[in-house]
């Protein structure tokens, strides 16, 4: 941070029309870059989380969008298999169906193994596990399409249950949506906290330099000239803090993504950041600088307007 500060100070000294010399040592306050760094780092993490959740939801939604599961819940195994075959045959001919796959019994046994056990003597096949038919539609599984599929299956399998796969994950999607709102709310709160910090720092700096400001006023200095000095100072602080915050945030994102990648869950696998998302994340420090500069300007001008 000291290096950035040194470089900025050097640049500041040669900036346009000597404005920086109107107010000496106009750097708003020592901790300000660090406060902004923390805010930006948290914002980056929150934004990355929100974007990753959105991507995960979109990926899962795309996977399940045209997915329909047909369950044959008849208790008798032979009747169940017969009805399942008939339903699969009927659905395969439906125009909206792209693919029909009857889930093999071994696959079903594997699915229920964690709950029903695999000890020697366990007769899993003796349990009335429904037959499952995985159906892929051409397009989303709308209520009309589901109704049509039900109409096709009921004549050949009265016990058939037709459900959209997306419907099962609706609570998950709702939770993801809530988390996205939470991330958005968190970002908004961080922005407000940044505004509050800048506002306090600006007022504090104004108080510290009040005498000099009065002198500059008496010498014919304008509010805009004075505000420009504070703006520039805040821009440097925010840029330095934003850069550090961005680096810290990116390191955190990378570390978190590696942790989540080890879970190997299908849903988590979709929670990746695309290049567009990285552009958004890279823009966060810039937005932070703009917010800080605007806040400093408005605060300073509002305070100066109260002076003669």
């Amino acid at each position: 941070m000291a290096l950035f500060s040194s470089l900025f100070q050097r640049w500041r000294g040669t900036a346009a029309t000597g404005d920086p010399r109107l107010l000496p040592e106009a750097q708003l306050s020592g901790p300000m870059p660090w406060v902004i760094a923390i805010m930006i780092a948290l914002t980056v993490v929150a934004a990355a989380s929100g974007l990753a959740l959105r991507n995960a939801a979109q990926t899962a939604s795309a996977d399940l969008e045209g997915g329909v599961t047909v369950q044959i819940v008849t208790a008798a195994p032979s009747e169940r298999l017969k009805q399942a075959a008939a339903v699969a045959a009927v659905l395969a001919k439906a125009p909206e169906v792209a693919d029909v796959r009857q889930v093999a019994q071994e696959e079903l046994n594997t699915l229920v193994e964690p709950w029903l056990g695999t000890r020697p003597g366990d007769d899993v096949e003796a349990l009335p596990i429904p037959a499952l038919i995985d159906v892929r539609l051409r397009g989303p599984a709308t209520p009309d399409r589901l109704a049509h599929l039900r109409a096709l299956t009921v004549p050949v399998a009265s016990s058939a249950r037709v459900d959209a796969q997306a419907g099962w994950l609706a609570p998950v999607f709702a939770a993801i949506g809530t988390l996205q709102w939470l991330a958005g709310g968190l970002i908004a709160l961080l922005a407000l906290a940044t505004i509050a910090a800048v506002l306090l720092a600006s007022r504090n700096a104004l108080g510290n330099h009040r005498e000099t400001i009065e002198i500059v006023h008496m010498l014919g200095g304008t509010d805009r000239q004075i505000a420009r000095v504070f703006q520039r100072s805040m821009a440097f602080d925010a840029a330095a803090g934003g850069l550090v915050g961005l680096l810290a945030g990116v390191v955190t994102i990378v570390a978190l993504s590696r942790q989540f990648a080890r879970l190997g869950s299908g849903m988590v696998a979709g929670a990746v950041l695309h290049w567009q998302d990285w552009i958004v994340i890279a823009a966060i420090p810039l937005a932070g600088v703009a917010l800080a500069v605007l806040t400093a300007r408005m605060t300073v001008l509002a305070a100066l307007r109260r002076m003669l």
Binding site: T17, G18, D19, P24, E214, M218, L219, G220, R305
Partner: protein, 288 residues
């Protein structure tokens, strides 16, 4: 104040207006950046300041200044005198637009200063040089940067600042203390930096509040001669002091006396406009 003096003459609106002496030397006026409203000086011969029944009170206290009326003319040398607490500093604050009056009318450079929008104040302030009683130098800036401040405020480029500021500091005898901070300067040196800062942009009016209060008699006389030199260049000078000896050093000066916030007029300065004054360049500031 060599040559013809700012001496009283019968006041009449038919009298030819006072001719503002031409500037013979000194740095070019600092340019006004865009967006700064400049005072209306299309009538350069008009009175520079006009107070009419001006009163000033802070809060609900009694008036510090009451029924103050006077007119200042370009190129004259005025002393504002009175006992401590008479209201000299308050009157000067009204003059250099650091304070608005509670009542009355103030015209500055031909413009109503009471209703002057706040955003137009800088343009007027740049025409007034102020030497504060407590110097009010910027502590973090060197003597050079303090003197350069009015030029920088006015947007003068750095290449056009170095020479006039250096010469101005030489002129006040601080050429070798350019890089010194105010804290390392003596009272007299600080005073001279403050004066150099006040005059560097060649103001139309110089207002000095007890400028010799913190210096020895020799330095006081030297500063007074410096003000006279400026006055000869056409700057209207208003010096607030309670030092009678100092006033006597400038016999041609016009005196305004404040007594408990009310103005009296021992030399007729307020009743009569001055006659034409001319300059002598004997002690003129450097041609920068």
């Amino acid at each position: 104040m060599d040559g013809e003096k700012c001496s009283p003459a019968l006041f009449s609106t038919s009298i030819a207006p006072y001719s503002r002496p031409e500037r013979r030397a000194g740095p070019a006026r600092a340019p006004q950046p865009t967006g700064i409203a400049t005072p209306d000086m299309s009538q350069p011969d008009a009175e520079i300041v006009q107070f009419d029944n001006v009163g000033l009170r802070y809060g609900t206290d009694k008036e510090i200044l009451a029924d103050v009326s006077f007119t200042l003319y370009p190129g004259c040398f005025y002393f504002l005198t009175g006992a401590s607490g008479a209201g000299k500093t308050s009157l000067l604050k009204l003059l250099y637009l650091a304070q608005r009056p509670s009542r009355g009318l103030i015209r500055l450079f031909g413009t109503d200063a009471i209703t002057l929008p706040r955003e137009r104040l800088p343009g007027f302030r740049r025409r007034i040089g102020v030497v504060f009683q407590d110097f009010r130098l910027v502590p973090h800036l060197s003597a050079f940067d303090n003197v350069a401040l009015p030029l920088r405020v006015a947007g003068v480029s750095e290449k056009d600042i170095a020479r006039p500021v250096g010469e101005m500091l030489d002129w006040v005898g601080l050429g070798d203390r350019q890089h010194a901070r105010p804290a390392t300067l003596s009272g007299g040196e600080q005073q001279r930096v403050a004066i150099a800062r006040a005059v560097i942009a060649r103001p139309d009016m110089l207002v000095a509040d007890e400028p010799t209060g913190n210096v020895d008699p020799d330095m006081a006389l030297k500063l007074l001669r410096l003000f006279e030199s400026l006055n000869r260049l056409g700057t209207t000078v208003v010096v607030a002091t309670h030092d009678v000896h100092l006033i006597r050093k400038v016999p041609e000066s016009l005196i305004m006396r404040l007594d408990k916030g009310r103005l009296s007029d021992p030399t007729g300065a307020l009743r009569y406009p001055p006659r034409r004054a001319t300059m002598s360049g004997a002690d003129a500031p450097p041609a920068t």
